[in-house]
């Protein structure tokens, strides 16, 4: 284990970190039924390393019931963004953990029901009293049953009973579509990865009720980081890969088409598995790109024609195979895809390239890829940086959307007049009031959109949901399609109806893939037309500058808004320019 990964390191680092002014803020609460010393320290350090200033609240030992059930508790006063409730099987089962076999059959269902009822009550009370996300760890399925090998012959043996409680948690708390607040972390995933004998140390348990051993605390906290990244909206969007010895074994320029290793032998198998993992992430919405020093023709031939390749040309949204500088290529990929460098992960087997990119572009997450390719698949599956709370339809379509984007670029290159290009695109914009299908996506857009975002306000699903049902707010989104395909829901705005005369633009954003084609102008026109219909005189909004939203800086001015103090104001008696190449459909 590397020194910087052990708990002693995190405990000491936690003492030295100080909040920064510009960092993202996050309030995290921990509740548990056992000792969780070291958890909050590790999380604060891990957050700090990712640019998040994390403040924590740790409930007293085994006080989780009181903290959740009492409305005036320290937990609710703390106002967390994320709350982790770490439950454990021994505590929940009590004596039954040891002697479930002596419980009469007819009493078993009642016990399960009671335990589920207790957890549900905690969930409901929590939802009533807090806006925080609540992540509950599921119960560890015991590796030992008091029934011995006859466990499997019993109705409701010990393990089956614990699974039953877990399934109820997954179904009723984790999976409910209407529930945007509660998530279940599958603790058995952690146990099966690292093993109970490692995670549970009897000596530490007897000494201090430590149920996750000291050595494994940092690994457990790392599991929870997936939720932190997702809720803070710092999930990675794009994976950039090198080719030689990263996607296949060997060097195409030296070994040639027939001798590089993909499939067919042990080394080749490791690369195939790595490619399958990349493809799975791509299907989930992570964009892939290539950054490789090679003769283009040699390398692209492998991608197009090698029988064992998993990833093909169309899986990559951007391909840079040339002899240019790798940093320059990364910058170009970032520009062409309109994805910030800080949303990129770089895989390259060469330690010199890794170091060079790390030094030159510190925003890019450079994976510490070892020499041994058999480790690649494991490394990528253990990364938490790609986690999102809920995979939306847009995510699963994203690969195809970027492919459309690549083809749009090709057309743009061919047509010399930009207006002519726009006309040929046949853009259609669907304007729609937020509904239960679009709300998760709208929240995701507010969390992830950085460039064309006038106010950069981040909203969780339940907030968007509340706004959309409020009489004082308008929440609408736009779905954009053109002759190359559907771009999905890519823009949204939230309007606050201040009074009978004035509306305020609370949020206005458009995914950077779409900006610059007139869709943003169409969206603003929608707002103004709607305001006119409601006899509203003035629509106004702020531009809140961030380090990233410069592309939206002059937007109000271009559309004829006038500056009044901190606001940009549009008088609805005036006419707003409206792009004519876009067809608008309304579904309000």
């Amino acid at each position: 284990m590397k020194n910087e990964e052990n708990l002693a390191y995190f405990l000491n680092e936690a003492k030295t970190i100080k909040p920064r002014e510009l960092g993202k803020k996050l309030r995290v609460a921990f509740l548990a039924s056992s000792t969780i010393n070291g958890f909050e320290e590790t999380m604060r350090v891990k957050c700090f390393q990712k640019g998040i200033d994390c403040v924590t609240y740790v409930a007293d030992y085994n006080q989780y019931n009181q903290e959740i059930l009492n409305q005036d508790s320290g937990l609710y006063q703390f106002k967390p963004d994320i709350t982790f409730l770490i439950l454990d099987t021994r505590h929940i089962l009590g004596e039954h953990f040891f002697s479930w076999h002596i419980v009469p059959h007819e009493e078993k269902p009642k016990f399960v029901e009671t335990k589920i009822g207790e957890i549900k009550k905690l969930c409901n009370t929590f939802e009533e009293n807090s806006k925080s996300k609540l992540v509950i760890t599921s119960l560890q399925i015991p590796s030992y049953s008091s029934y011995g090998i006859s466990e499997q012959r019993e109705m409701r043996g010990l393990k089956e009973m614990v699974s039953e409680i877990n399934n109820e948690l997954f179904d009723n708390c984790g999976r409910l579509y209407t529930n945007h607040q509660i998530f279940i972390y599958d603790f058995n995933e952690f146990i099966s990865r690292f093993g109970e004998k490692n995670i549970f140390n009897y000596k530490q348990f007897f000494s201090g009720d430590i149920k996750i051993s000291i050595e494994y605390i940092p690994k457990f906290v790392n599991e929870l980081m997936g939720y932190v990244y997702a809720i803070s909206g710092i999930t990675k969007k794009c994976i950039v890969v090198d080719l030689d010895n990263t996607l296949w074994g060997g060097v195409i320029g030296e070994d040639g088409f027939d001798n590089i290793k993909v499939g067919d032998n042990p080394i080749g198998h490791s690369f195939v598995e790595f490619q399958k993992r990349l493809l799975a992430l791509n299907q989930r919405g992570i964009i892939l790109a290539i950054n490789s020093k090679n003769n283009f023709d040699d390398a692209i031939e492998v991608i197009q024609k090698h029988p064992n390749m998993i990833l093909r040309e169309d899986d990559f949204a951007c391909v840079k195979i040339n002899w240019d500088d790798k940093v320059l290529n990364l910058q170009k990929i970032s520009q062409e895809l309109n994805i910030g460098l800080d949303s990129m992960v770089f895989f390259d087997d060469d330690p010199i390239n890794q170091e060079y990119v790390r030094e030159s572009l510190p925003e890019v997450l450079v994976v510490d890829l070892p020499k041994d390719s058999s480790q690649y698949a494991q490394i990528i599956t253990e990364m938490k940086e790609f986690d999102i709370l809920k995979i939306t339809e847009e995510d699963t379509k994203r690969g195809a959307m970027y492919l459309g984007q690549k083809k749009r670029k090709e057309l743009e290159g061919k047509v010399t007049d930009f207006n002519e290009f726009l006309k040929q695109m046949n853009i259609v914009v669907n304007v729609e009031k937020a509904n239960s299908f679009s709300i998760p996506r709208i929240s995701q857009l507010t969390l992830k959109t950085n460039q064309f975002n006038l106010t950069t306000k981040r909203y969780q699903e339940e907030e968007v949901s509340k706004f959309s049902s409020s009489d004082n707010k308008i929440v609408e989104c736009v779905q954009v399609s053109d002759k190359f395909g559907d771009n999905g829901i890519t823009g949204t705005y939230i309007i606050e109806k201040k009074n009978d005369e004035e509306w305020i633009i609370d949020t206005f954003l458009l995914s950077c893939r779409i900006m610059g084609r007139g869709v943003e102008e169409i969206m603003m026109n929608q707002i103004i037309e709607k305001a006119r219909l409601s006899k509203i005189k003035r629509v106004k909004g702020k531009f809140i500058p961030t380090t990233k939203n410069k592309p939206a800086e002059n937007f109000y001015e271009q559309l004829g808004f006038e500056k009044e103090n901190e606001f940009w104001v549009f008088n609805t008696d005036n006419i707003m320019n409206k792009p004519e190449h876009i067809k608008v459909k309304k579904n309000e």
Partner: protein
């Protein structure tokens, strides 16, 4: 070896090794709390590749006791 032990202690308790002696104990070292002590035990076990018995760990009252215990387990201090 003694030096290695002191290095671990200084790292876990985050104090200069010059401030550590055989008589260092929870009474005279503020950083030595019950949880830190388990972290220290874990680090020492890993570093010297040994496992203490539970009763052995309960007898540790000061740093000097670690040395006695390590020697008992065949580690030359």
């Amino acid at each position: 070896m003694s030096e290695k032990l002191y290095q671990i202690i200084s790292k876990v308790f985050n104090v200069d090794s010059s401030k550590i002696s055989d008589d260092t104990s929870p009474e005279n070292l503020e950083q030595w709390d019950s949880f830190n002590f388990y972290v220290l035990l874990d680090e020492i076990e890993n570093e010297f590749n040994i496992k203490f018995n539970l009763d052995e760990t309960l007898d540790i009252k000061k740093i000097g006791d670690f040395k006695i215990l390590l020697e008992k387990n065949g580690v030359k201090i």
